[in-house]
């Protein structure tokens, strides 16, 4: 492998880092666990604080001035998310607690109303437990069959086998846009086309892709797309489901409570139109505003330059790992995201991570909530190094040198 070519400084990472209070306050920290959660730029923290300081009231309920301000802020956040995803209409955005809740919403609402015994759902070996377990629960309840797209040796999906799995009973393909465990990016456009030709719907888990890829739901032509705010520089406790308007309109509510009803009486209740039908109870308002600020912040960056920068970091990292004895990169699919999983001949990943932590280098070890994948790869787990916009070549070099030391003495 030839060394990666350093980019011209089109992307000013020093200026970017300065916008992250936690990184400024902890300059020695090397944070390479961004797939678990990213840090938050000042713009996000300010937006949440400003909401509480200027607009705090309950949304959609009261007629007073402050309630209008809160409702405006909340609905503007919805519009921002719709714009960021290039959704057709802001009413296609349902706020959720995150990816996990959004997938459960689709399973419980669309799945329970549309799927019947004998129907089939196709998942892939790359999926996070959040995109497996809700379907297993639904399958057990409804007598559905789950089928799984297998991996090629490099960690890409076996598309020939995928096409064979597609059949007349296939009703849904649920697939990640970027594997949180080994970085593979499945060929979404192609898979979505295939699924649609068989009359199946497609749910895209964009939890990992949001921070790295430009996501355009119209261009992708998916049916559902879900993500979490906290993995894309936004707050915890907020995320969203995007669903095509005609699908949402036909979906029944899944949680009952305030906000989601049009009229309640003890003889019967009528429900609001989407998206409110799916947002029972007081929503996380400040968090929604924070999420919109995160997407505005990210959207203002030069995204192609950022993607090239992240890919340069990944290539530098993989090049360095290849030079270390006893280290194997798990997942080498072409076009993978800025996330590298490593396995060691001599050392347990947990021990390696423990020593990296002693040098304030944060990585993740384990099965990454993808136990079926790890079993297939016959690994007890890996050490995962996940990069994002604010990481630097210096940090990658610090990791590589700490790793070299650690492996030498753990032998």
């Amino acid at each position: 492998m030839s060394p990666p070519v350093p980019l011209s400084p089109a992307f000013d990472v020093a200026a970017l880092r300065e916008q992250f209070p936690l990184l400024c306050a902890q300059p020695a920290l090397v944070y390479l666990d961004n797939a678990a959660t990213t840090h938050k730029p000042r713009a996000v923290l300010d937006a949440e604080r400003r909401f509480y300081e200027t607009s705090n009231a309950n949304v959609h309920r009261s007629v007073h001035r402050l309630a209008h301000a809160a409702t405006d802020a909340f609905e503007n956040a919805r519009s921002t998310i719709a714009r960021f995803l290039n959704a057709h209409d802001a009413r296609e955005i349902v706020f959720t607690r995150g990816t996990t809740e959004a997938i459960n919403l689709v399973a419980q609402s669309w799945g329970r109303s549309q799927l019947h015994a004998g129907d089939e759902i196709i998942l892939t070996m790359l999926e996070h437990h959040a995109n497996i377990v809700p379907w297993q629960m639904l399958a057990a309840e409804r007598g559905l069959t789950l089928r799984v797209v297998e991996l090629q040796p490099d960690g890409s999906l076996d598309l020939a086998q995928f096409r064979q799995l597609m059949g007349s009973r296939t009703r849904l393909l649920a697939v990640t846009a970027l594997s949180n465990a080994i970085g593979t990016r499945p060929p979404l456009r192609e898979m979505i086309d295939t699924a649609h030709r068989h009359g199946a719907r497609v749910l895209v888990d964009a939890a990992q892709a949001m921070a790295h890829d430009i996501i355009d739901v119209q261009d992708l032509d998916a049916d559902f797309l879900v993500f979490s705010g906290h993995k894309v520089f936004g707050p915890t406790g907020i995320g969203a489901l995007w669903a095509r308007g005609d699908l949402l309109a036909g979906m029944p509510p899944w949680q009952g409570g305030g906000e989601m009803i049009e009229r309640v009486s003890f003889s019967g209740t009528t429900y609001q139109a989407p998206p409110y039908r799916f947002e029972a109870g007081t929503p996380p308002m400040a968090q929604a505003v924070g999420l919109a600020a995160a997407l505005d912040w990210l959207g203002a960056l030069d995204r192609p330059a950022l993607a090239a920068y992240e890919d340069m970091l990944r290539a530098t990292l993989e090049h360095g790992l290849a030079a270390l004895p006893g280290v194997r990169v798990v997942g080498t699919a072409p076009g993978k995201g800025p996330l590298v999983s490593a396995a060691f001949e001599q050392a347990h990943p947990f021990d390696v991570a423990q020593f990296l932590d002693a040098r304030d280098i944060a990585v993740r070890v384990g099965t990454h909530c993808a136990q079926p994948l790890m079993e297939t790869l016959q690994l007890p787990g890996t050490l995962r190094i996940s990069l994002c916009a604010y990481n630097t070549v210096t940090e990658v070099e610090a990791l590589l040198s700490a790793l070299a030391d650690t492996l030498e003495w753990l032998q």
């Binding site: 347990h348 007890p380 753990l410």
Partner: protein, 143 residues
């Protein structure tokens, strides 16, 4: 199999940095005999850890026999601490041990807070539960 709590306390107490403490744990781990493969099965596995951890416990003459193993060397070092605290002791003794306090004294409290990853808390809870159950099962001796 005995582990010298005083020596462990002294050694770990002298290790100043987190890295030095981790290195010592790896060294201490060498004292831990490996479990037979037969005992490293699912029935003995402590779940929810990022490394494999196995445990078996039984009582001989009202004293706990504890056997532990892991595929991580740092965790094996921690398991030596668990043995030093609980192995060969009576149920009453076990329930009086302040394990968290000892770890804090050793500068290793962080291992208990991040214990979903290393399984330490799950193991200590199981030992304590076993001790409580052992006391409850023992026929009360009235004169």
């Amino acid at each position: 199999m005995t582990f010298d709590r005083a020596r462990i306390t002294e050694q770990l107490g002298q290790a100043a940095s987190w890295e030095a403490k981790n290195r010592l744990l790896v060294q201490i781990a060498r004292e831990l005999p490996a479990l037979d493969d037969a005992d490293r099965d699912d029935a003995h596995r402590v779940h929810g850890c990022e490394s494999g951890v196995w445990m078996s416990l039984d009582w001989r003459d009202d004293r706990l026999t504890l056997r532990l193993d892991s595929d991580s060397r740092v965790v094996r070092g921690l398991l030596v601490l668990v043995l030093a605290a609980f192995h060969g002791r009576s149920a009453d003794d076990i329930l009086s041990v302040d394990f968290a306090g000892w770890l804090a004294q050793l500068g290793l409290a962080r291992f208990l807070t991040s214990s979903r990853a290393n399984g330490l808390k799950a193991i200590v809870d199981r030992v304590r539960d076993a001790a409580s159950r052992h006391l409850a099962d023992r026929p009360a001796r009235y004169c």
